[in-house]
């Protein structure tokens, strides 16, 4: 009996993962349409330390704008992880607008041309999926005075915007 208890105890100690806080790995992307410029506006909110670690390496937070902010690398990363396509599957090119730091989070602003509006567009958001197994990305779409929320987990691919 003692052997069984010792074995169970040892097994529990082995299978328990390393001590970790209970983080919530999320990003938030707000999508709206600028009828004036006929572009899709996207504001992406990520934690500066999570995003910096994915982009720059372990333990490195994303610096503030004007402090060596790696806009090129951020844009390259976003182009690979956050995609917009037309209904026919044609990918929309995105352009960099800027960034704003607020406490622990950083907002990244990009735009993509969409002459036809949000109707028929599809989005894929895989930001930080390669970095966190529990990453969940929320996308809030503002359209016609209403807001809809899309939720992206590791199993999700494309979702319609309009």
């Amino acid at each position: 009996m003692r052997a069984v208890i010792l074995f169970a105890f040892a097994a529990l100690l082995i299978i328990a993962p390393a001590a970790a806080a209970h983080p919530l790995h999320t990003s938030l992307t707000q999508v709206s349409y600028d009828a004036g410029t006929r572009e899709v506006k996207m504001a992406i909110r990520v934690f500066a330390d999570d995003f910096g670690e994915a982009l720059l390496g372990e333990g490195r937070a994303l610096p503030r704008a004007g402090e060596g902010f790696p806009a090129g690398a951020v844009m390259q990363y976003l182009a690979a992880k956050l995609s917009l396509t037309t209904g026919e599957g044609q990918e929309l090119p995105v352009r960099w607008i800027g960034t704003r730091r607020k406490g622990a989070v950083i907002w990244l602003f990009i735009r993509a041309p969409a002459p036809e509006g949000l109707e028929g567009l599809r989005i894929r958001n895989r930001i930080l999926f390669e970095h966190f197994d529990d990453q969940v990305n929320l996308v809030q779409v503002f359209r016609g005075g209403h807001r809809a929320t899309l939720l992206f987990t590791h199993n999700d691919v494309w979702k319609p915007l309009g």
Binding site: M1, V4, I5, A8, F9, L12, L13, A16, P17, A19, A20, A21, H22, P23, L24, T26, L28, Q30, R45, F47, K102, G103, A104, V105, D133, D134, V136, L138, Q140, R147, A148, T149, L150, L151, T153
Partner: protein, 201 residues
């Protein structure tokens, strides 16, 4: 998808994620002293815990309180250790009935601490509308916790049966007592290790 359902799914996923081991272990030590027939008490204790962390989360998200992250991360495993140590005083089912009436109160107070742990991650997600997303997130947490509770009760029943088969009746403490002792001790050790690692001093 509405904000409510999106945040409900977020809360649900957060609890059922195995990376959320500190939360799951806390539920385990809260529930380990209960038997199937005590399920109402167990649900009430878990719900009190949800109410507690909903309160702190709401206060933090609305900016009414600012919470020191390092201290909170340290206090979370401390609440687990305290609950596990309290369990060690449990001898037989119902032997501390009067004391256990206060258990939901403690669960609620400890929930205040655990909710503060979420708050730092969530307060920048709620940008303009707070009520519905916050409600959705907390409902998701509660549903996830009830699933964990159900799984824990099934595991406790199996553990009791196993202990009953392995031990001769009358020679050792009851399967109930051994279950409470074993699980509480192991969880207390884990949580003490976490508290040590996260100590801000």
């Amino acid at each position: 998808m509405t904000d409510f359902s999106a945040f409900l799914e977020l809360g649900w996923r957060h609890i059922l994620d195995l990376a959320a081991l500190d939360h799951i272990l806390f539920l385990l030590v809260l529930a380990v002293i209960y038997r199937w027939q005590d399920w109402r008490n167990a649900v009430w204790v878990v719900t009190a815990f949800t109410i507690g962390h909903s309160v702190t989360l709401g206060l933090a998200v609305t900016g009414l309180v600012a919470l020191p992250t390092a201290l909170i991360e340290f206090l979370i495993p401390v609440t687990i250790v305290l609950t596990a140590l309290d369990n060690l005083r449990e001898r037989d089912p119902g032997s501390r009935r009067r004391e256990l009436r206060l258990r939901p109160v403690f669960a609620g107070v400890f929930g205040l601490v655990h909710g503060a742990g979420f708050a730092n991650y969530l307060n920048s997600l709620f940008l303009d509308q707070i009520t519905l997303p916050l409600l959705g997130f907390n409902v998701g947490i509660e549903l996830g916790q009830l699933v964990v509770l159900l799984a824990a009760f099934a595991a406790f029943a199996v553990t009791d049966r196993l202990i009953g088969v392995l031990l001769r009746p009358g020679v050792a403490p009851s399967p109930y007592r051994l279950r409470v002792l074993g699980i509480s001790t192991v969880v207390a050790l884990f949580a003490a290790g976490w508290a040590f690692e996260r100590s801000p001093w």
